[in-house]
């Protein structure tokens, strides 16, 4: 997208402004989030999709999660150090969930 600038520049107030997307981009993301949420709910009620319901819902949820983090939380444009802090916590959380499921659901 052309409406954002150098993510690592902090030399001036103008540069800091450029690390964020434009209002038009925010509205576009909101429309996409709305559509994906509608598809999620439709998937829940679509009986023919029952066999692949869980992976479909997880993928759609991941898309929404990534859009909010990248654009609304500005991680796409911000320093990678911030991404590192967040992704570390996210990975520990995911590993905890998977480990608990493996241990308690008899997969280990």
């Amino acid at each position: 997208m052309s409406d954002h600038g150098n993510a690592t520049s902090h030399a001036s107030p103008q540069a800091a402004h450029q690390t964020h997307a434009s209002d038009a981009t925010y509205w576009k993301i909101a429309v996409i989030l709305t559509v994906v949420t509608a598809v999620e709910v439709w998937t829940y009620y679509a009986t023919f999709l029952r066999p692949i319901l869980a992976p479909t819902i997880l993928v759609l949820g991941a898309v929404k999660f990534a859009l909010v983090v990248a654009y609304y939380m500005h991680l796409k444009f911000d320093s990678r150090i911030f991404s590192g802090f967040f992704l570390f916590g996210l990975m520990v959380a995911t590993a905890t969930i998977l480990a608990f499921i493996a241990l308690f659901k008899g997969l280990w």
Binding site: H10, A11, S12, P13, A16, H17, H20, D23, Y26, W27, I29, A30, L33, T34, T37, E40, V41, T43, Y44, L53, A54, I57, L58, L60, G61, K64, F65, V68, V69, Y71, Y72, M73, S79, I81, F82, F85, F86, L87, F88, G89, L90, V92, A93, T94, T96, I97, A99, F100, I101, F104, K105
Partner: protein, 210 residues
């Protein structure tokens, strides 16, 4: 500052100058570290919910099983999920307003964010009340214990966020919040978007996956 530890003068969007080793705002750094730790907090609660999922011996249960009809109200929760998503849009527009020095735009959207957040909390109070009347409680069964703990902590996060948003709204009239310290709005926004992404996960795991 020693010669071996060179610092970069960081001028943020608000004119405040801070010397930091990375050139990044240390308040944002701290906040991202907090959000990473909050991921682990909710990760542990989600892990507990998933471990106990489907192990109830008595109802009510989330989805229809041999123990009875499902208790979850998907249409209602879909609307509340949409409301919280739209509050994230309002939040970024509020930040956009204050970074551009447009306080009128900031006040409108920050108030809109707080209102949408309050509506979400209202939906949750209604849902909790309805579930309680249908026999679901913290001590009743595994689903009740894990559901109320998980969504209750999320609701508490949202409530704290609404108070924070309203504080920013009122401080903008007193001169305590101006374009010069818009970083305070950005940090509040990070927190607000975080509660939004947690709900994206909870909505999928609790409500949409039987």
């Amino acid at each position: 500052m020693s010669a071996t530890h060179s610092a970069t003068a960081h001028v943020d969007a608000h004119g405040a100058e801070h010397a930091t080793a990375t050139g990044l705002d240390h308040r944002k750094m701290l906040w991202w570290a907090f959000l990473g730790s909050d991921c682990m907090f909710f990760g542990s609660l989600i892990a507990t919910y998933l471990v106990y999922k489907g192990r109830d011996t008595v109802g009510p249960t989330p989805h229809t099983t041999a123990l009875g009809e499902g208790i979850l109200n998907i249409p209602l929760t879909s609307v509340s999920a949409f409301v919280l998503l739209m509050s994230s849009l309002a939040m970024v527009l509020a930040l956009s307003g204050i970074t551009a020095g447009n306080m009128r735009k900031f006040r409108f959207w920050i108030l809109m964010t707080a209102i949408l957040g309050s509506i979400f909390v209202g939906f949750q109070v209604y849902e909790f009340t309805e579930f309680y009347q249908k026999g679901l409680s913290l001590g009743g069964n595994l689903f009740g214990a894990t559901f109320f703990t998980l969504t209750g902590f999320h609701g508490a996060h949202v409530t704290v966020g609404v108070v924070w948003l309203l504080s920013l709204f009122f401080w903008s009239f007193t001169g305590r919040l101006t374009q010069a310290n818009a970083i305070n709005v950005e940090i509040c926004g990070l927190y607000w978007h975080f509660v939004d992404i947690v709900w994206i996960v909870l909505f999928a795991i609790i409500y949409l996956i039987p």
